[in-house]
């Protein structure tokens, strides 16, 4: 499960972490004065990464049996930004998203063509380490899907898979993730209650906390607000705002306002093809293609 690659050993100047955490999650550390560093870090990253995407798809196509889910997608998704994928229903946006962490494997009779690279490695390679891939590419689903376990066990599920067994480590980790997902205050008193007892919005934030607990680099969100009421949607969007400082987020949504609100980059899919991919501000104000304009202005879809 764990690996200790020496070249990736981080600058260890941590104050709060236990030695076990240090061993198991070497790349994770907490900075007390991160606010300043983050801002500087992001700008720098944006500059470097505009050239190379953390996800880069090259002529990627995906088939369900004989029908085509997406075809010939070529795009780069940049780190530490929110990328939104919009488009009418059935346009393949979810298919593309679920291909990134190979969630589509569950569906029988599917196959992929072309390259879909995460961090420079084709995920549809035979030798892909699915466990590591999925651990580092977290996913939040359309409908909140907490396990029928306690809130604590839900969040601790991922870390436990990675071999963290010590109670105190798990507790601090769960607390952190719940705080990151902005749900700690609501559930801190009854962590042992069943997760199914929470409201829909709370469940979805719990699912986000659960996804964060595996320390992903990428967070895939598949219409995370479609099953929620407007108030819960606002909270999730605020959360995305917070999270994008630290995670690369890809969000699929059919709500254009949402895409405009939360994302920096937006891709427009239609009928399995990528029509346009640009900075959100530009795409929504000066779309380059007629199709995009029609969709944005509500003439079809």
């Amino acid at each position: 499960m764990e690996d200790n690659q020496p070249q990736e050993k981080p600058v260890t100047q941590m104050e709060t972490q236990s030695p076990v955490m240090e061993k198991i999650l070497p790349a994770i550390h907490i900075k007390m004065d991160n606010q300043k560093q983050v801002t500087s870090g992001t700008t720098q990253d944006k500059a470097t990464c505009n050239r190379c995407g953390i996800i880069s798809s090259k002529e990627f196509s995906f088939f369900y049996g004989n029908t085509c889910g997406v075809k010939n997608i070529s795009m780069d998704i940049y780190p530490c930004m929110v990328t939104a994928i919009i488009g009418p229903s059935g346009c393949g946006k979810s298919t593309f998203l679920r291909s990134i962490n190979r969630m589509n494997d569950l569906i029988p009779h599917t196959r992929a063509k072309g390259r879909l690279e995460v961090n420079g490695i084709n995920v549809y390679d035979k030798r892909t380490n699915l466990v590591n891939l999925r651990q580092q590419v977290g996913m939040v689903f359309q409908k909140p899907n907490p396990f029928a376990k306690s809130i604590f066990d839900n969040v601790a599920y991922g870390p436990r898979l990675q071999g963290i067994r010590k109670k105190s480590d798990l507790e601090s980790l769960v607390e952190q993730c719940l705080k990151d997902a902005a749900i700690w205050d609501e559930v801190k008193d009854n962590l042992n209650k069943s997760a199914l007892a929470l409201s829909g919005g709370q469940q979805q934030r719990l699912c986000i906390a659960r996804a964060l607990a595996t320390r992903p680099k990428l967070l895939l969100m598949d219409e995370p607000c479609s099953a929620l009421d407007p108030l819960a949607t606002t909270r999730i969007e605020d959360l995305i705002e917070q999270l994008k400082k630290f995670y690369t987020i890809v969000i699929v949504t059919h709500n254009m306002q949402q895409a405009a609100r939360v994302s920096e980059w937006t891709a427009f899919f239609c009928l399995g093809e990528l029509i346009e991919y640009d900075k959100t501000t530009r795409l929504f104000t000066k779309p380059g293609k007629k199709q995009t304009e029609d969709y944005i202005t509500g003439r079809f879809g």
Binding site: N101, M103, L106, P108, L130, V131, N132, R134, Q135, G138, M139, F141, K143, N145, P146, F147, A148, Y157, G158, L161, Q162, L196, C207, R210, A211, A213, T214
Partner: protein, 545 residues
Amino acid sequence: MKIGYRQAFDKTFTITAGLSVFLMVMALVIILGPMLSRGSKAVFFRGTVEFRKMQLAIFNHGSSDQVQAETARVEKAREPVYELLENFQIGIDVELLTDKTREIYRELGQQLRQMDVDRETYAAIRAKAKDIRDTLSDILESTDKDYVNQGIEVILKLSDDPDFKNTVAEQFFPLARMYGENVKNIDLTQRDQYIAALEEVKDALRKLFGPLPGESTPPMPKDRYGATRWDTAQQSLHQLLWAQAWVETKPGESLEKISVRRDDPQKGQFAGTSLEPLFSLVENNLDDMLQPEFTIYWRYFLDDWVNSHYFGGVGSEIIGTLLLTLLSMMFAVPLGVISAAYLVECADENMVVKIIRTCVNTLAGVPSIVFGLFGLAFFVLFLFPRLNMPSKPCILSAALTLSILVLPVIIRASEEAIKSVPQTYKEASLSLGAGRFRTFVTVTLPAALPGILTGIILSLGRAAGETAPILFTGAVAMGPQPKSLFDGVKTLSYSSLDIATGDRLAMMAPHKQYGVIMTLIILVLCLNILAIIIRWRVAKKLRGY
């Protein structure tokens, strides 16, 4: 067609359909009703003192002081009955009387020798006593009433004889007097009939109160006690009071069989005899003589049976059934659940899986008796000898046979349960980096568990109720509890069969017959209701989600 006809036809159709469901429900009620209500009598009944005596003696349940006190009380109440019986017997049972006379005569001889009387007196007294004895024997054999009365007079005249003072011979006179009294109202030519009828009465009394005083303890436990239950006591009372008689209802026509009370003043068997008061005495004081009390015999489900279910309970059958079904589940559950997991999670819909599915369906359709044949041929006669195990029907072979029988049930139920776990659960787990195996064990299996459990409980009920597969693979009707895997096992299902068709003793105790089947039905119904409740709660939980 006119619209009126069409509507009438529609109504008829609806009513017919509703009626058929109603019929089905009625069938269930009609079938379960008698078996449950009659079976419940094995547990809820009015138990008599005989029941408590039996419980104390056989199972050592109850307080012995209380039972002794009760016994003393009922014996006092029964005393007059036995007295009446004995007195009447003297008049009627000639052999008994003859024996008694001879004995008195013999004892007299011994007494005289001890008394040191001289030879002549001895001879005179003996001669006189011999006379009495012979006269008595004569009149006992005679059917002529006048002759009898004369003889008795002759004997009684001798009662003042000083020679007999203070000797055993004095006993002759009350005997003779009593005989005279008894014979007064008896038609002596019908004496044989009286003897036969008396046997019937004695039999009925034995059934009511247990062995008569002075009789030796019978070998069968069931004969050692009288009516243990108030309802059987009523039956025995009827047997005591009423006699079957062939009566000429109309002159010249054939005889008709009717029931007549034995003490009926006109036609009764014992009308006018000294036994006559016995019947009303028993009838009116049966409560005192048996002391019935409402009893809940919950130990029925724990006690072993006695005299092939005549007394006792079904404890050993329940234990046998549980042993057998649990053992068979130990084989069937892992196999079934793993098979279902493979069929749902791993297998693509190819030819091999199709064959497996067809086989599961075939297995579900094989007649249960063929499972029995297979179990006998394969496990008992083929496999066991080759594994150096005893080649005889036993609990192991029965359990293995049953496990194959319930395998398709478990596979189907588990498959449904695993399929019904939402895909999103699995996706969530996979997206957190769990492997397929991990996902199945930590997420899918717990979520499917209630469904799998339901299937297991249902097949538990099925295994408990099946009889045909264990007929020749390990079920026995009698015998001790199995001590190893290679002993036969008593089960509720097999005992139900045995007790309904083969067991003559059990037929005398219908409440016990129905009790066994009631226990089986209750066991199976409880398992089913448990399954229904689990399913209902899961459905509720899913709705809440």
